[in-house]
Symmetry: D2
Subunit: 382 residues, 4 copies
Amino acid sequence: MAKQLNVGMIGYGFMGRAHSNAYRMVTNFFDVPQEPVLKVICGLVEDEAKAFAKQWGYESHCTDWRQVIERDDIDVVDICVPNNVHAEIAIAAAEAGKMIICEKPLALDVAQARTMVEAVEKAGVATLVSFCYRRVPAVTLAKALIDEGRLGKIFHYRSVFLQDWTISAEVPQGGMATWRLDVKAAGSGVTGDLLAHCIDTAMWHNGPITRVNAMTETFIKERVHTETGKVEPVGIDDACTFFCRFENGSMGNFESTRYARGHKALYTFEINGEHASIRWDLHDLHRLEWFDHRDEGKLRGWRSIHVTDHGGDHPYMDHWWVPGLAIGYAEAFVHQVADFMTAVGKGEPCSPTFREALATQKVCEAVLESAKSGTWVEVPAD
Amino acid sequence: MAKQLNVGMIGYGFMGRAHSNAYRMVTNFFDVPQEPVLKVICGLVEDEAKAFAKQWGYESHCTDWRQVIERDDIDVVDICVPNNVHAEIAIAAAEAGKMIICEKPLALDVAQARTMVEAVEKAGVATLVSFCYRRVPAVTLAKALIDEGRLGKIFHYRSVFLQDWTISAEVPQGGMATWRLDVKAAGSGVTGDLLAHCIDTAMWHNGPITRVNAMTETFIKERVHTETGKVEPVGIDDACTFFCRFENGSMGNFESTRYARGHKALYTFEINGEHASIRWDLHDLHRLEWFDHRDEGKLRGWRSIHVTDHGGDHPYMDHWWVPGLAIGYAEAFVHQVADFMTAVGKGEPCSPTFREALATQKVCEAVLESAKSGTWVEVPAD
Amino acid sequence: MAKQLNVGMIGYGFMGRAHSNAYRMVTNFFDVPQEPVLKVICGLVEDEAKAFAKQWGYESHCTDWRQVIERDDIDVVDICVPNNVHAEIAIAAAEAGKMIICEKPLALDVAQARTMVEAVEKAGVATLVSFCYRRVPAVTLAKALIDEGRLGKIFHYRSVFLQDWTISAEVPQGGMATWRLDVKAAGSGVTGDLLAHCIDTAMWHNGPITRVNAMTETFIKERVHTETGKVEPVGIDDACTFFCRFENGSMGNFESTRYARGHKALYTFEINGEHASIRWDLHDLHRLEWFDHRDEGKLRGWRSIHVTDHGGDHPYMDHWWVPGLAIGYAEAFVHQVADFMTAVGKGEPCSPTFREALATQKVCEAVLESAKSGTWVEVPAD
Amino acid sequence: MAKQLNVGMIGYGFMGRAHSNAYRMVTNFFDVPQEPVLKVICGLVEDEAKAFAKQWGYESHCTDWRQVIERDDIDVVDICVPNNVHAEIAIAAAEAGKMIICEKPLALDVAQARTMVEAVEKAGVATLVSFCYRRVPAVTLAKALIDEGRLGKIFHYRSVFLQDWTISAEVPQGGMATWRLDVKAAGSGVTGDLLAHCIDTAMWHNGPITRVNAMTETFIKERVHTETGKVEPVGIDDACTFFCRFENGSMGNFESTRYARGHKALYTFEINGEHASIRWDLHDLHRLEWFDHRDEGKLRGWRSIHVTDHGGDHPYMDHWWVPGLAIGYAEAFVHQVADFMTAVGKGEPCSPTFREALATQKVCEAVLESAKSGTWVEVPAD
C-alpha cells in the first residue's frame, strides 16, 4: 500500500472546505494507514480555484473535472458539487478506477442513482456518501446503544430538520450560494437536502423504511434566478412532512422545512423503545439524551450525556482533547475520512456506500411521489 | 343573579377531583359573580361517592346521575365520566335547563356530538368543554401573541402528546382506572384522549384544520378486560400520527402515543411564523419559549419566559403569588371555572362551547377515518 | 382529640394567603387527623381584615393579635407578620398554650430567637417555622437520597437565592409591600429573608454549619420610607455572599442578592458527594437533577427527574394528580400543614421547630457579624 | 515582513497538541500576514518528541529547550510545559529576542512572574499568555456586550470551574499525566490551573479585582508521587472558594474544585448588571445566555443565543461553517493564534500579554494568602 492517498477534490464551496479540512486534520488525530495528499482542486472559476488551492495547500488546480479523473496520480475523487453533476463525475471516476467520496444526496433521482451504483460496483471501487452526521460521536453512540439491544422493541422514530434561511422572498434561486433552491441543480428541496440526512440516520439506526405518506409545500412560488436574472417558478419543496413504517413495525414521523423561525440547523431525532429512549439535537451535537425505564423508579429521568469521555466510552473521543471539552461540526468529517481510509486499508467497504445511499434515495423519491399522489407509496426493496 | 352557583358533579375520578378542587379554590383567588356550592356528587359506587362527598365537602351524594338532573336546586351539571356517557347526561341536563361543563372529548363520535350540540343550543344553556390546557397561562399567552399578529404569516404548527403508561401488556382495559383503553367507553384511544387536546389548542391558536392524513397503530392487540376477566381485542389506537392543512395555508404535524418511554405527559406545541416562533411543553408548563427574528441579530435566541409575572403581563398570574413562583396543573381548572362563571355572569358564551368542541370532534373523526383509508380526508365545515 | 383544629391567623399578606390556602386544601388531599377551621384572621386594617375573612372563609376578624391569643377556642396561632413582631406574638401565644406556626426567619436576631425557644419549650407547645421549601417534593427527595447515603462523603454544598426586584432606586422601604427593605421590620435584608431558606435546607441536608466568612453590600444607600415619606438610610443588606464549613468537613458557598437581573426567585442548591451529585432550582421546582458516578461509564449524565411519580416513588405526589402533571409553589404549604397536623396527632415534633430555626438564626447572625469584621466567625453550638 | 512565522514548540502534552493544531489550521480559516511553519518540537523523551514531530509535521525535534532558543531561525517560542519551567524558558527566550506564547498560569508565583514581565519588556518582544477561553466566540461576544454598555452598572460577577477527576485517592501526583497535583510542578492546585482562567476572563470583562477573601481545602492529604513511588503529602489546593471586590464596586464570587461529581469541565460565568445579565457555560460553549430587562415585559426571558451566526454578528464565526453549525474547544486556540499573528503584523500587543497575566497571578496569590490568613487580602496594584 502506498504511503499516500492522493486526493482530487471537485468543488470548493462549503463542502469542499469541510472535506479539505478533514484531509488536513486526519493524520494529526487518527492513526490511518496512509497520508492524504491534496493533489488538485477543481472548480468552475479559475481564480477562485487557484485561491482555494493556495489557502488549503492543494498542489494544483483546474476548472474541468475531467482533468482530475484523467490524472493517473489521483487515488480518490471527492465530489462536492451540486447534485445534478454527481452522476456524471462519479461514473467517469468509477470507470477510471478511482475511489469516490460523494456529497449527499447521491443523485437527482433513483434512476440516476442506480446508474451510479452500477458503475461503481462494476468497477469495484471503494465509495462513500457523505452522510456526515453518522459520525458525530453522540449519533454513533446512539447506534451502539441500539445495536446492543438496550432499547428493546422499537415503537417510534421521529426526526426533524428545521431551518429558516429562505423565508424572505428576496432570496434568489440558482448560482453558487443558492443552487439548493434551483430544482435543476438540486433535484428537490428539503427532501434531498435535509430529510436525506434524517432518513440515512434513521435507517442506519432502525432498519429499512417500507412505506411512506407525505405532504410537501412550496411557500414561495417564484424567485429570481441568479443565472437568468428573471423571476422563475420555484420547483423545489420548501417543506416536507411524512410518516412511514419501518420494516421492524415501528412508526416513523419526519419533517423538514426552511421556514421554521429560530432554527438554523435543528436536526433532531428521537427513538422510543420498550425499555429506553434516545434523543439528539444537532444544535448541541455533543450531547445525547438517554432515558432508561430500568433505572430505579424514583431516580428515572432523561440523562444528558456530555459525549466527551475517554477510555473507550464515547466513540472517537479518545482521539481529541480531555473529557468535558467539546468538538464541533467539522470533526465529523475527520471521522468520516479516518473511517474511510481505515476501511480501504483493510479492503472493506465503508458505510454508507453508494448502494446504501441508493436506499435513502428511494425513500426520498417515494416521499415526493406520495406528496403528489396524496396517499401511501411503497419503497421498492430493490 | 343568585349569590350561589349550585354544582352537581357526576364522576369522582381524576377529573372529578380536579373540577371539585377548582370550585373550592376559585373564590379565594378570583373575583367571580357567584360562589360555587358543592351540592351533590354522583358516582357508581355508593361508599366511594359518600367518601368523596365527605372529603370534598359535597352536601350530598347519589349513584344515579338522573337524580342530579332532576333536582331543582342544581345550576350546573359537571360531567366527569367516561366518554360513552357524556351524550346521554348532557342531553338530559340540557333538557332540564342546566348549564353544563363536560370533560373532553365531547362525545364518542361526531354524530353523537351533533345531537349534544343541538340539545344544548335548543335549550339555550351555557356550556363548556374542559379543554383545560387553553388556560395554562403560558398557553393563553401564546394565544395573545398570535392574536396580536406578532408571528406574521404562519407556516407550521406541530404538536405532540406523548405518554408511556400502556407499554406493558399487563395493563388491562376497562374499569375505573383503565377505561381509556376500552373502545366502548372511550370511543378511541390517543386520538380522542390526547390529540383532542392538541387539536383544540391548535385550532384556537391557528384556525380551522381543513384536511388530514393519518396513520394509527395498536401495538398490543389484546388485553384482559377488567369487567369480563377475559382477554379481549383492543379496539383503541395506541398511537396516531397525522399531518394536515389549516385554512390559513399552514402545515400541521401531530403525533400522539402511549408508547414513548420517558414521557409521562409530554404535551408540546410549536408554531413557526414569518417573524417569530413559539414553543411550549406541559412538563414545564410555566414556561413559554419565544423566538423573535426582529430582535437584534447578534442577540437573537430562544427566550425562556417564566410565565409568572404580575402587573397584567402574564395571563391569570396577578391572582396567584409573586413573580418567580410557579403554579401547577390544577390551577388551569381554577381559571376555567373562573372564566366560565364570569362569562355566565355577563350572559356570554365561554370557549370552548359544545359547538366549538364539535369542531375538534370532527377533526378527530377525520383522522381516524384517514388512518383507515390511507389517504387525505376532508374535515366537514359543518 | 378534637375533630377540628381551630386556626387563628395573624397577617393577611402574601404569607397569610399561602397559609390560608393550605388549611383550605389540606383535607382534600391528605388524610389528616383533624379538620382545620379558619376561626379568625387578624390584621392591621379592619376593612382589609374583613375582606380577607370573607374571601378565605374566616369566621371572624380582628385587628389586635392579643384578641386571637385570648380566645379559648383557638388551637393554633399562625404568625404571618413582619419579623419584628414574631417574638412578642409567639411568646404570648406560648404562654397561652397555643400551638404556633411562624413564618421565617424566626426572629430579628439570636437573642430574640432564644427567648422564643425558651417560651415555647417551657410551655411545651408544638411549633413549626415555615421554611416551606423543605416540602417541595424534589427537595424532600434530595433529603431522602442523602439520608440513604447515596452520595457518599460530601465535598461541597452551594446554594444561591437570586432576585432582581429592588434594583430601581424608586422602590421605597417600609410599609405593607416593602417592609422587607426596612431594617427595623425585617432585621436584615437578603440574609434573613432569602439566605435563611438556603441555610435551613442546607443544614437539613448536610448537617450543622460551624463557621462562616461573609461579605455584604447595600447598593442603594437611601430610600424613601413609606411611613415617614422621607429619604432614609437603608439598613438592610442588599446582597450577601458567604463561604463556610460544615461539621462533616464539607465546604459551603452561599450567595443571595436582589440585584441579579433576570432572576425572580432563583433559589438553587447543589451538593457534590463522592459518588453522586444533586441540583435543584426553584424556578423549575418539580425537577431534581441527579448525577450518579456509579452509572455505566458511557451512559453517565445528569438526569432530569420530573418529580411527579406515584407509587411511593416521589414524596407527597401520590396525593395529587397523575404522573407528569406538576404541582406548584403553593402545594409546599399544604404539605407543611399536613405534616404538622400529622405530627401533632402523634404527639411528635414537626421539623423545623423553633429550636431548629434558632440554629439557622445563629448562622444568619454569624454571617452578618463576619461581614462586618471581615473574617471568620464561629457559629455557636448552643 | 517574512512570509513565514517559524515556531519552536516546547512541550508535547495536551497543550502542545492544542497549539500545534492551531498553527496548522489558522491559515485555512483566517487571513493572517504570515504562514506558521512548525520548525521544531522539544520534549523530554526523545522517542516521543520524534513521534510527535512526525504526527504534527514538525521539521525537527529535540530534548533540550535551550537548543530551540539558540536557533536563529525560530521566531516564536511556544511554552507548553509545566508551570515550574515557564520562567526559565521565557526569560531565556526573551533574552534571545524571541516572541513568546506561554501557557497559563504565567508562573509559580508573583515574584517569578515579575521577573518574566521585566525580561520580556526589556527585550521588547511580543508575548501572549494562553488564556484561551477569551476567544471562545460566546465569551468574546459577552465582552463586546459589556463594552457597549448594555448591562449598565455591574452588581455581580460569579464564576466557577468544577471538575471531578481527582476524587479517587488512587490518582497519583507528579509525572506527565498528573503534574497538576504536584505543588512543585504546578505551584498551586485549582487556583492556578482553573481559577486563573475565571479570573482572567472576569477582569477582562469587569475590570480589576482589588481585594479577596478565600477558603481552600486539600481533601486528599497524601498521594503516591510517580517520580519517587512514595506516598507524599499533597501540597496543592483541591478546592478554592473566594469572594472579592472589583474596582467598579461590584461583588465577585468564585469557586473551583476537582471534587464536583458530574462536572468534567464546568467553567461558567454570570454577570448581573442594572439592565441585563449574561451567562455562559463551557460545557455548551457555543451558547450565550442573555437577559435584557429592557425587553417588553411579558416577553422577558433568558435568551439562549446559538453563537454561530455570520455577517459579523458573532465574533470569529464568519470564518467557519454556516449558521447553526458549532465549533468546538480547539478553535479557540486557532482564534488566539490568528489574533496574535495579526497583532504582530501590525506591531501591536495581543492580550493577554505577560503584564496582563501578571495581574491574574497577583489575584491568585492574594487568594492563596487569604486562604491561609483567613481574612481579606488586598491585591497589589503594581
